[in-house]
Every structure is written in C-alpha cells, then in structure tokens.
Symmetry: C2
Subunit: 179 residues, 2 copies
C-alpha cells in the first residue's frame, strides 16, 4: 500500500479539510467520535429526537446523539458516558440496560467521522430533556409497531429522517434473530 501522505488544506473552527494522496476529506477539529443512542421504553416505544440542522436547512428526526470526549486510554468508557449524558440531556430518559453494538463511518468517502451505536432498553423518564442551552430538541415517543408509517409521514419538504433511525431499527430487529 502506498505511504499515506496527509495534507492539511484548511482548518476551520470546528471542521478541517485534508487530503490523503489526493483524496479529500473533512475532519472534526475536536475529536471524531459520535455516539448514537437507540433508545426504547419499557412499553416498546422508540425515543426519537427532532431538531433543525443548519447544513441541510431541515428538521431531522434522529436518535439522541452527540460528540464524545476523546480521553486517550478511556475511549470505550467515555463513549458510554457520552451516550448516557446525551440520552438524558436530549430526551430526559435514562436506562439501566445498555449494550454497545458497533462503530462505523458516517460517510467513509468524505470524512473521518465515526459513529458508535448503543442500544438502551427499558428506558424510563428522569429529566426534562430538550438538549443543552444551545439546542432546541423535540422528543417523540413512537410505538415500534407504528414506526414505518410514522417515519414515512415525517419525510416532507422541511423535514427528513436520518438513516441512523433505520440503522437502529436494524439493530433492534437483529437482536431477536439468529442468536
């Protein structure tokens, strides 16, 4: 394999643009870990978030999610801690039943960003939710059996569904398959 020649093309406040052997890609200036929380209540309702996203100029339906801290040597632990914090901050829910699933790229051709998926089962309400001071997050409880139609209705001109929602549904469906 050719030696990786990394060139920094531009460094912004939050994102940078680099290239490896001429292949351009974006990076986050602070860390590149994002946690995604596939959260389900005791009553089998999906706990989803909805918020406005400036880059695509739409409201986006997603799971609770956020950036993780990047403490060397504590990557695994800090991911779970970040996942628990984001679920509570954004939705007001907590869980005593966490499972780490996998880590994969959000867009492997254009960014180094990696997403770590957790499933949080039997969630129950503990806080207010809605996000931190800079966020304005709407929370939806959607019965899993109604998810397909509910998500279809959410795809409109001003609103869309993040593919990660379907990835979470895939993880939930597999957990009951070929054990």
């Amino acid at each position: 394999m050719a030696r990786r020649h990394v060139e920094q093309l531009y460094t912004g406040k939050h994102l940078g643009l680099n290239s490896i052997n001429g292949w351009e890609f974006a990076t986050r200036v602070r860390g590149s870990g994002v946690v995604i929380v596939v959260a389900v209540t005791k009553q089998d309702e999906l706990i989803l978030t909805e918020q406005f996203r400036p880059p695509i100029n739409k409201r986006v339906v997603d799971w609770a999610a956020g950036l993780s801290g990047d403490i060397t040597g504590e990557e695994e632990e800090s991911l779970l801690t970040a996942a628990q914090r984001e679920l509570l901050e954004e939705t007001g829910y907590v869980s005593d039943d966490w499972e780490y699933c996998f880590t994969g790229p959000s867009s492997a051709g254009m960014t180094t960003e990696m997403l770590s998926f957790f499933v949080a089962r039997k969630c129950y309400k503990k806080g207010k939710g809605g996000g931190d001071a800079s966020e304005d997050i709407e929370v939806h409880l959607v019965p899993k059996s109604k998810a397909r139609q509910w998500l279809k209705r959410k795809s409109t001109k001003r609103r869309c569904v993040d593919p990660k929602v379907y990835a979470g549904l895939g993880l939930l469906s597999l957990s009951t398959d070929d054990e």
Copy 2:
C-alpha cells in the same frame, strides 16, 4: 428564523468547506446526491460490498452505493438510474423489482450530503462486478439469517461495517411489519 448567511471558506477539487451563520459544514463540489442499494437475491442473501476507504484507512462493508448525476428536473429518474448502474458496476447484479424508500442526511451536523435508499429485491447475476477502473470492490453474499454474526465478525481493527448496512436491514425488517 435568521436569514441564512452562507460563506465559502475553502473550495477543493472534490469537497468544499462552507459556513452558515457560523456553522461549518462540508459540501461535495459536484452534486450532493448519493444512492444506496439495499440488494437481496432471490435466495434471501444480502449483496454487500467491501472496499478500502482512504479517509478512515480501513476496509468498509457496505451496500453498493455511489454518487448520482444531478440533472435538474430529472432528479428522481436519475437517482434510480444511478442506483441501477452502481448495483451492476459494483456487484454484477441486476433486479426487476426496485423500490425507492427515502432520502436522509449522512451527517446532518457536518455536511449537506444526502443519501437516497433503494431496495432491490430478487436480484440475479448479470455482470462481473468489482467496480469501475478506479475501484477494487469485493462482493459478499450473506444469507439474511446469518447477517448478525457475519457483520460482527467483520468489525476488526482494519475493517468495519457501515451503519448504512444496518439501515438497510431496518428497511427490510419494516417492509414486513405494519403494512
């Protein structure tokens, strides 16, 4: 809502870095549409691809996928055409049973890139696959009932699974749910 003030920070050969009211994000210079093909054979095998991705320095397991043309007024048609081309080019398979599912962001906080998901059922072999001249794509046929364990084994130091694979499994699981 505040007026959208877009600033171009840097324009590369393939990617650009912009900001909206101070919120930085990456864009593709040519088009921002990506098609994802959730492809299944008549024998209920998932048709997956595996290729090296420079930004994350790993091999990535994914569906057949690629950039779509950006012909104004023919967006819908060109997405399907692109999906059919990518499936044949990358895997050698074709299908007479296509369904458009939805379009959503790959990473709504950091890029304008949008992914359009298609399901291609009852796929059958017609070509060689492997990608175009610049690509070196390995094709995997994975029985759906074995997917969970197979994907788990693919998460290693040098290899990972794209969350879009699980999104496709979610779409397939929903299509048999609450009709």
